[in-house]
Amino acid sequence: MKGRSLLGLCAGETSFSMLIIFETLGDRFLYYLNQAGRMGIFLGACLLSLVRPPYKLYPVVRQIHFIGARSLFVILFTGAFTGMVLGLQGYYTLRKFGSEGLLGSAVALTLIRELGPVLTALMVIGRAGSAITAEIGIMRNSEQIDALECMAVDPYKYLMAPKFLAGVISLPLLTFVFDMVGIFGGWLIGVGLLGVNEGAYFQGMYSSVVWKDIEMGIVKSLVFGLLIIWITAAKGFYLHLERSGGFGAEGVSRTTTDAVVLSSVTILVWDYLISAIML
């Protein structure tokens, strides 16, 4: 059998292997379609639960603390170093054209329009997104979500709504912090170390950054906030339906990895889309 199929001489077997290819392809396609469908339904149910009473403040504050406040240190750190490297690289690039004076606007525009929202989102995925998938996934595995449903407590309202709200509130604020720290990081290197004129650094920034740039940053961070919570929470919520085996500790770890990869890629794709639409 094996030898014959290796030689590929038998027409019957060729069509048989073709059948397997199509079967596998179709199967994959249906699986991903199914997954996309349930992710969509999940998002709908979560957004609907946001507008349904009762409205409780405390769970949202708790989630803002977890997603937002506890990410602050990472954001400060990465923001500062991103700004510093932008100052350094920007200075050497701009010097070739003799326009070191534009360093301030270069750093600010890069941060506000691109790097601020994207890097903040990636940091939040790594810190809070992975934790959300693992937490919800373990709850799914140990029947805690079933228990909620059986108690007639809506898991969307109880578990998801506060996370969505917190994500959409925290991301723009963290992005703002990232941008600010980054701009001062650039200033530290550009002005403090490399001797760019301080007036030129801030004046250039002041004259080149317009409301539209800031608007783009805000839109991006809002969309990213929603995307992160959506993907990471849905992955955990549907852990038991994952094809790669969603059971046990390994299932949680694999699904968490998937969620982090998928949400990071999605962020970068949407970053391009939003830029293309808004520019």
Binding site: D146, E149, M151, A152, V153
Partner: protein, 269 residues
């Protein structure tokens, strides 16, 4: 089962369910009468928990109907299902406690999320339920810090906190030693006498569970073989039931005839 007089809480009619290629339930019929305790027994992997999940509306049948208080739960809206579930209490196999909440918060959760009670009221009811389960002083502990038996008791307290009409037990004593399981049975007895709920129990613990049951149903290969009161179940002629009773309880109870013969032998002697 005497089905003409009794009010039915839950009824499964011709339920079929497959997972992948494996057909777990094959046209299963079962009735759970109001106010009574129905126990389902049978070997592992026969779909006992799947039946429970059908009754809770967590799993939908491929074919057939699951009627809860007369309503087919495969056809009702999410809202109606939620409404229906407000009369349910469930003790899961592994208790399914929320592990990031304390024991107190676990028991308080249904009250906080489903009622508009004041916090003092919640505290009073939860303390009362914890006392009923002999769990005073454990309220501040987390589920990971208490023993398996205690976890089951917390699960029971949580299941009963809203005074449900129907309580489901998925293997309430699995993994507990004899004393702990007796403790669970004692609490079950006490709370049912007090709250008058309908109970549906999935269990392995034969013959002890027979003492609590009003009806015992045996599942075999996706169908219910018999559903009888425990005394009749132990003496049933159906060969599957016979085999199960002999296997789990030993041959001493194996038949009325044998017992009669046994006593007859003594009389003669």
């Amino acid at each position: 089962m005497d089905d003409s007089k009794e009010e039915i809480a839950i009824e499964l009619v011709g339920v079929e369910k497959s997972f992948g290629r494996q057909k777990v339930l094959k046209g299963l019929d079962l009735r759970v009468p109001v106010g009574k305790t129905t126990v389902i027994v049978g070997p592992s992997g026969q779909g006992k928990t799947v039946i429970l999940k059908h009754m809770l509306g967590l799993v939908k049948p491929d074919r057939g109907e699951v009627r809860v208080f007369g309503k087919d739960i495969g056809r009702i809206s999410r809202r109606e299902l939620k409404e229906l579930r407000t009369s349910f209490g469930v003790l899961f196999q592994n208790a399914a406690l929320f592990d990031s909440l304390t024991v107190f918060d676990n028991v308080a959760l249904p009250l906080r999320e489903r009622t508009r009670m004041k916090e003092e009221e919640v505290r009073r009811i939860v303390d009362e339920k914890l006392a009923l389960m002999d769990l005073e002083g454990s309220g501040e502990k987390f589920p990971a810090q208490i023993s398996g038996g205690m976890r089951k008791r917390v699960g029971l307290a949580r299941a009963l906190v809203l005074n449900p009409k129907v309580v489901f037990f998925d293997e309430p004593t699995t993994g507990l030693d004899v004393n702990k399981s007796n403790e669970i049975y004692r609490l079950f007895h006490k709370t049912q006498a007090k709250l008058q709920y309908t109970a549906f129990i999935v269990s392995h613990d034969v013959p002890k569970i027979f003492k609590l049951a009003d009806y015992v149903a045996l599942i075999h290969e996706g169908t219910i073989v018999e559903c009888l009161p425990p005394e009749e179940f132990q003496l049933a002629k159906n060969p599957r039931v016979r085999a199960f009773v002999e296997e789990t309880m030993g041959p001493i109870y194996s038949s009325q005839e044998e017992e009669r013969g046994f006593y007859g032998f003594h009389e003669k002697a």
